[in-house]
Amino acid sequence: MNVKKFFELAKEKGLEAAELVIQKNKGIEMSVYDESVEKYTLASTINVLARGIYKGKMGFAMSEKDDKTTAQYLVAQIKMSAGVSETEDLSIIFEGSPKYRKKSFFNKELATISESTKLESLFTIEKALKKAHPLITSVSTVQYSEIESDYKLFNSYGLKLTNKQNYFYYGTWVVAKEGDDVKSHVEVFLDNDYSKFDADTFVKKAADGVIEKLGGKPCATKDYPVVFNPKMTASLLAAYLTSASADRVEKNTSLFADKLNERVASSKVTVLDAPLTANLFYRYFDDEGVAKTNKPIIKNGILQTFFHNLSTATKMGVEPTGHGRNTGGRISVGISNITLKPGRNDFDTLIKDIKEGVFITELMGLHSGLNTTSGDFSLQAAGFMIRDGKVAEPVNLITVAGNLVKLFNDVKAVANENELQLSSYTTSSILVKSLKIAG
C-alpha cells in the first residue's frame, strides 16, 4: 500500500482528514492426529482499514486487496459511507497523545526455532497423552500455532505508530471414556517465549484435566457457595465489564449508568486496566492512536472510570482512556488486558472453610445464556463439589443461574493464581457467597 498516495488521493477527493491502519499477519499452524501430520497451514494476510471525514462525517472501508486500485476503492467507499451517515458519534481523527510508552515484547527467538523441532514436540505429546491413562480413548488433536502480527497506523496529521507482536500456543483436545461416560478436555498453553513450554507438564495437565471429569453427575438443586476457576472468572468479568464501556452507558444498556464512583462489586474486587504489563498482549496505543496507560477501573469495589474512545470521551468531557477499537473501520470501545488484582491467599485457603459448595471450571453458552444488559445469566456448568474444605467428586450438566451485579457484590475472596488467559485477562479464582445451582 502506497501510504503517501492514499493521503494525497483522500485530500484531492475532498476528505478533511484520513487514517490508515495496515495489519499484516503471518502464521503457521501444525497438528498431528494418529501419529501423522494432520494439518500444516501457512497463513499470510494483509488487512487495510481506512477511515476518513467527509462533510463532517466519518466514513470507512476495509480491503484485503492491496494493489494499484486499493486507494481509489477505499476513498470511494469512505465517501459513500460518510455520505449517508447520521451517527451521533463524533468524527475525530486524532492528532496524537503527548507521550507514548513504546516497548517491544516481540520475541525474535521464536521464529528461529526450527519447524521440525515444533512438529516433533507434537508427536511426543500425542504419544505421551495416549499412554498417560488407560481411560483416555482418543487424542483428537495436538496443535501448535505461531502468529506474528505487524500493525501500523498512519493519519493525515502525520501520526505514525507501529506495534509488532508474536506468540505461540499449544492446544490439545483429549477424550476419556469410562463405561457410557464420555468426557473431553481442552488444554492450552500460550506464550511468546518458547523456553517456557514444558511438554511433560502440558501432558500431565491435559490428562488430569479429562480424567478428573469422569463420573461427573448433576448435584442436588439448591443454593451453594460457588468458586469459579481463573478462566471462568475471566469470562464472567469480561461480561460484567462490558457495562463499563462508555458507549454502552451512552446507549442506555449499561448496568453502570449512574454508578461512577459508586459500588459495583464487593470490596475484595479491584480491577486494573493493564495494557503496559510486560506480556505478549502489551499494547501502547489504541486503534485511534491514543496512548494507553495502566489504571484502576474498579478499586475495592468502587467504579473509577468508564472505558472510552475519542468520541465517548469528548462527549462526556473527559480524557480518552485508550480503548478505541477498530472493527472493520467502525470505532467501538474495546476492553482487553484486564487484571483482577490477586488476593493474599492461595486456592486451598480460599476453599478451606466451605463445608459444601461447588467449584465451577466450565461454563457453556456464555454468548446466549448471559444477558450483559440485565446481568441475568443461566448457564450450563461443570466442575466439582467442594466438601469439608476440599475439592471432591466431579459434577456435570448443572446450571448455574444468577445476576452479574449480585455475583460480583457477593465475592467474598479472591485467590492468588494471577493466571494469564487467552483472552488477555489476568485472573484468579473467586469465591461467591451463594448461587442457585440446578442439577
Binding site: 499470510s44 451517515s85 446466549s368 446450571t399
Partner: protein, 464 residues
C-alpha cells in the same frame, strides 16, 4: 482472478513433492453492513475479502496455506512452501484445466451490486421506526441489512475449473426494552441466497413489530422455573437444537475420527421413529444453499435420519478419505483463509403428522419454547445447552404465562430418542454457524416438536 496458465503452474509446483491432490480456491467477496439505530443511519461498513487458499493432500495428510497476494510470485512462493510439507517424488501432474459448467439454481432479479444505498436506508428506517414507536419502553432499536457478493473460482488437480457467484442478503432486527431494573432483548434475522427482491417481498413491518413486542412482554415475565419437564419446541429457529446437538456430530470431521456418538451407527436406530431429518444444500434461494460447495462438488439433498434410522453423514473430500466415502457436497469454508471441512447447509427435521395444537394439548405441565436463541454443544459428548428467546409455561394443554431466562440442557443422542411427537408445520430460519472452517450461513428448521423430558434451567424455582 488468475489465468489458467498460472493456476496450472501453481498446481504443478504444489504436486512436486508427492501430493496426490491439489486445489486453489480464489475468492473476491464484497460485503456490506448497513445499520439504522434509533432512527439514525450509521456509516455503512463495507469490506473486500480477497485472496487464495492452496491445499495439497497426500493420503490422510493435508497442508493448507492462504495469502492475499495473488501475484505470480505470491502464489508460487506459497505453493513451494507448502510442497515442502511432503518429501516424496511427484506422482501426479496436471496437463490441462477445463471449465466445469456450474448449474445456477439460485437465480435472482435484483443484484445486490446494483441496489441504491438510499433504497436500503429507506427500508431500514421504516422498520426501525416501527420498533421504536411500538412502545416507549423500547430504548434501543437496531435494523441491519447485510449483503455478501461472493465470487469464487476453484482449480484442482483433477483438471477442473469451477466458478460461481453467490449473493446473499439478510436483515437483522434487534429491540431492547427497558423498565426500572429490567432489560430485555429480542431479535429476528431472515435471509436468503437471493437478490434485493427478497427484502422487497418480506412483510418487514410485521417482523419488526413482533420483535419489539416480545422484548416488551418479557419485561414483565416471571423467571423460568427449573427442573426436568416435557418441552414443546416451536417451529423454525427451534431447529437450532437439532443443528447443534445432532447435525454437528453427523459431520465427517467428527465422525471420521470416531469422536461422534453417531460414528459407526449407519442403519441403526438413533432417534425416535417420529424423526426424519435432512440436510439440503439445493433448496432454491435457501440461505444455506449453494450450487457447488467450496470444493467444487455439486450440493445435494442428503437424508440424514429416516424414521429414526441413521442414513448418512455430511462428508467432505478430506474426511471422506478417512471414511472411504465420496464427498456429498458439504465441504464449506467461511472464506479463503479456512481449509474446507464438512458443514451443514439447510438442516431440518421433516414434517410429521400432528398439528401444533395437538402437541401443545398433549402436555399437562411443561414448557413451550416458542423460539430459541443461540446454543453450544460439545461434539465429543453431545452435551448441549440452548437459551430460549421466547418461552411459555404449558398448563393443562394450553399455552399459559410467558417466562424469561429459560435454557434447555441435555445430550444430543439422548434427546433424539425423546422427540416423540412431530407436527406438520415445518419452517426454516436463518443463522450463522461457527466451526473449524469458520462462520457459514445455514438454515435450521423443524416443525413444532415434543420432547418427552429435558432439563430446563431458570431462576424461578420448581415448576408448579
Amino acid at each position: 482472478m488468475i489465468t489458467k496458465k498460472l493456476a496450472l503452474e501453481v498446481l504443478n509446483v504444489a504436486l512436486s513433492t508427492g501430493g496426490d491432490f491439489a486445489e486453489i480456491f480464489l475468492e473476491e467477496t464484497y460485503s456490506g453492513n448497513y445499520t439504522v439505530e434509533n432512527g439514525k443511519t450509521q456509516a455503512p461498513a463495507t469490506s473486500l475479502t480477497y485472496g487464495a487458499g492452496i491445499r495439497i493432500l497426500k493420503g490422510l495428510q493435508s497442508v493448507y496455506g492462504h495469502t492475499s497476494d495473488l501475484s505470480k510470485k505470491g502464489l508460487l512462493n506459497l505453493a513451494t512452501a507448502l510442497s515442502a510439507g511432503f518429501d516424496g517424488q511427484r506422482v501426479l501432474s496436471v496437463e490441462k484445466l477445463k471449465n466445469v459448467r456450474v448449474r445456477k439454481n439460485h437465480e435472482l432479479e435484483k443484484s445486490l451490486e446494483l441496489v441504491d444505498i438510499n433504497e436500503i436506508v429507506e427500508k431500514l428506517k421504516i422498520t426501525n421506526k416501527v420498533m421504536k414507536d411500538y412502545d416507549e419502553k423500547i430504548v434501543r432499536a437496531i435494523s441491519v441489512l447485510l449483503t455478501d457478493v461472493r465470487n469464487i473460482t476453484i482449480f484442482n488437480s483433477e483438471g477442473n475449473a469451477f466458478t460461481d457467484k453467490q449473493e446473499r442478503v439478510r436483515l437483522v432486527f434487534q429491540a431492547i426494552a427497558m423498565a426500572p431494573g429490567a432489560f430485555e432483548y429480542s431479535y429476528n434475522g431472515p435471509g436468503a441466497h437471493k437478490g434485493f427482491e427478497y427484502v422487497e417481498g418480506l412483510d418487514l413491518e410485521k417482523i419488526a413489530r413482533d420483535v419489539a413486542d416480545v422484548a416488551v412482554r418479557k419485561l414483565t415475565a416471571a423467571e423460568c422455573p427449573s427442573g426436568k419437564m416435557p418441552v414443546v419446541i416451536g417451529n423454525g429457529f427451534g431447529g437450532v437444537i437439532f443443528h447443534e446437538a445432532c447435525g454437528h456430530p453427523l459431520e465427517a470431521s467428527s465422525v471420521s475420527k470416531g469422536l461422534s456418538p453417531f460414528a459407526g451407527k449407519v442403519g441403526k436406530q438413533i432417534a425416535h421413529p417420529a424423526v426424519t431429518a435432512v440436510d439440503d444444500g439445493t433448496i432454491v434461494n435457501g440461505w444455506g444453499s449453494n450450487n457447488i460447495d467450496d470444493e467444487g462438488v455439486k450440493t445435494k439433498k442428503n437424508v440424514l435420519i429416516k424414521n429414526g434410522i441413521l442414513q448418512s453423514y455430511l462428508v467432505d473430500r478430506f474426511n471422506g478419505r478417512r471414511m472411504g466415502i465420496e464427498s456429498n457436497g458439504t465441504g464449506r469454508r467461511q472464506n479463503y483463509t479456512f481449509e474446507p471441512t464438512s458443514r451443514m447447509s439447510n438442516t431440518y427435521i421433516a414434517a410429521g403428522k400432528y398439528t401444533p395444537e395437538e402437541i401443545i394439548s398433549s402436555v399437562k405441565l411443561g414448557l413451550y419454547a416458542k423460539s430459541l436463541g443461540g446454543g453450544q454443544v460439545n461434539p465429543a459428548t453431545g452435551d448441549f445447552n440452548f437459551a430460549c428467546d421466547e418461552a411459555y409455561i404449558i398448563r393443562d394443554g394450553k399455552v399459559a404465562e410467558l417466562v424469561k431466562g429459560a435454557s434447555l440442557v441435555g445430550n444430543g443422542a439422548d434427546i433424539l430418542m425423546k422427540i416423540d411427537m412431530v407436527a406438520n408445520d415445518l419452517e426454516r430460519a436463518q443463522g450463522m454457524c461457527g466451526a473449524d472452517s469458520g462462520s457459514v450461513p445455514v438454515d435450521v428448521g423443524q416443525p413444532t416438536i415434543r420432547v418427552s423430558e429435558i432439563t430446563v434451567g431458570g431462576r424461578g424455582g420448581a415448576l408448579q
